[in-house]
């Protein structure tokens, strides 16, 4: 479904991602973990064409490298960016509408909206509220809900648990699992490595712009290097 070959990202002279390769199969839930500044966000941004990169990015039968960012969602690829990126001055409902911006099937959009309200009832309560005044967890819910409104086939998530209360973290991961269960492929970047690996089937570990480990989640959880570097043991 998604495959990167020799992906490279530079900021001026700094290399943030150094020729990494990885793949995500259809229907998989794969995670990418790594220390601060390892290049995880840069990787996701490169896939979503928010920053320039070199190397190849294959998605379904397409090359993403030359597409503009705003074409991706039409092809079923959505990103929930680091820091949520909700539209603070739009209402919750308008944010969700934006998620379905590229779609024209009014009736279906309405159905999806109801489905998301069911899944995330908190958003329904706040539908008319300006999104900027939501609490952190609510904003994260909104960001995920908004991405789902685009009916993505591949969902990229950048640290969805950041800044969330434990209850909320659980809630968000529940949502992620249920989205995955509906057949959406998910590529998840997460600092909460334990939780991420418990949720995913496979994982990659990134260090200083390079992928150093790739394995099943269970194996990674057991790997002493991972335990030392990311699980705080």
């Amino acid at each position: 479904m998604l495959q990167a070959v020799n992906l490279d990202v530079h900021y001026g002279g700094i290399a943030a991602v150094r020729g990494i390769s990885f793949a995500v199969e259809k229907g998989e839930l794969v995670c990418l973990i790594g220390a601060n500044g390892a290049g995880k966000t840069s990787t996701l941004k490169a896939i979503a064409r928010m920053i320039p990169s070199s190397g190849e990015i294959h998605y379904r039968d397409m090359r993403l490298d030359n597409l503009p960012s705003h074409d991706l969602i039409r092809h079923g690829l959505a990103l929930v960016p680091e820091g949520r990126g909700i539209f603070a001055r739009l209402t919750v409902a308008e944010n969700l509408t934006m998620g379905a911006y590229h779609r024209n099937d009014k009736a279906e959009i309405e159905l999806d909206l109801q489905r998301i309200f069911e899944m995330l009832p908190r958003l329904k309560e706040r539908a008319a509220q300006v999104a900027g005044t939501l609490s952190g967890g609510e904003q994260q819910m909104l960001a995920i809900g908004r991405a789902l409104m685009g009916r993505p086939q591949l969902l990229l998530l950048d640290e969805p648990s950041m800044g969330l209360a434990p209850l909320m973290v659980e809630k968000v991961f529940e949502v992620i699992r249920s989205v995955a269960a509906q057949g959406v492929t998910i590529f998840l970047v997460e600092q909460n490595a334990r939780l991420a690996l418990q949720t995913c089937s496979r994982g990659y570990v990134m260090e200083s712009g390079e992928i150093t480990l790739a394995d099943t989640a269970a194996n990674l959880l057991a790997d002493p290097r991972v335990r030392a570097a990311y699980l705080g043991e």
Partner: protein
């Protein structure tokens, strides 16, 4: 475990339009204590910081610092009095280098004015050198000295958090207020952060910590207060708070460690 009261907040109230973000919140922090402030998202923790540091006007109540009421509404006086903070959504001076960010933090503890700067008096030069030295030390301390000359906006999330702490420390605070410093850090990095905070306390600082990493909070803090919907629903040592059914229901959830 620790000494006299450093900070005392009395009946703090704050309302945003229809939202009562803080309702009669009172808490006391003792010197050299690590004090945790937790609660669900939107409980009012950050708002409490904003009121305490004078960034938001408050609707009611007062804050005593070292027994003296803080002049709220004038953040620089709060900083002068000895409270420094970091921000939940990092606020660095993006187009300044890392070291310059920390040097700005020294502003409140240094004095040379316009004329000194223009005349470049010996005093000014000495002070400037001292500022740079101290900033360097602090970058080392938080572990990002290798990025001293990079623009702050180009640092990764985690490094930006460290830089914010360094900038806060540069103001020589007595009380350091950290708003979710571990957000975006993995477990191992969190351990390093924990060491850093413990080191700060060992150096005589008092720390007020907002954090969602329950393990970190419960392991690190001497006492913890829990906010929910703007109200304090619990305040005690971690062991007790953790078992409080109200806290479990509002915040920790069944799976809470």
């Amino acid at each position: 475990m620790s000494g006299e009261v450093l900070l005392e907040a009395r009946n703090i109230g704050k309302r945003f339009g229809g939202v009562q973000a803080l309702k009669d919140v009172s808490l006391t922090i003792r010197a050299r204590e690590i004090y945790g402030l937790i609660g669900p998202n939107g409980a009012g923790k950050t708002t409490f910081f904003n009121v305490m540091t004078g960034l938001y006007p408050r609707d009611g109540g007062e804050v005593l610092f070292g027994g003296v009421p803080l002049e709220l509404g004038t953040p620089y006086l709060v900083a002068q009095a000895g409270i420094a903070r970091t921000f939940q959504n990092i606020r660095l001076f993006g187009n300044m280098t890392a070291i310059e960010n920390v040097m700005v933090g020294r502003h409140v503890r240094t004095h040379v004015g316009v004329f000194g700067a223009i005349l470049r008096t010996p005093g000014q030069r000495a002070e400037e050198a001292a500022i740079r030295r101290r900033a360097d030390e602090l970058l080392h301390y938080v572990g990002i000295s290798h990025r001293a000359n990079d623009l702050a906006r180009n640092l990764s999330y985690g490094d930006q958090r460290r830089l914010e702490i360094a900038r806060a420390l540069a103001t020589e605070p007595q009380l350091l207020a950290l708003d979710e410093p571990a957000a975006g850090m993995n477990a191992t990095e969190t351990v390093a952060l924990r060491k850093l905070i413990e080191g700060l306390r060992a150096d005589g600082l008092t720390v007020l910590l907002i954090e969602h990493d329950v393990k970190l909070v419960m392991g690190l803090c001497d006492r913890v207060a829990v906010l929910d919907y703007g109200e304090k629903i619990a305040e005690d040592v971690p062991g007790v708070v953790q078992k409080d059914p109200k806290v479990i229901e509002a915040y920790l959830g069944a799976g809470g460690d």
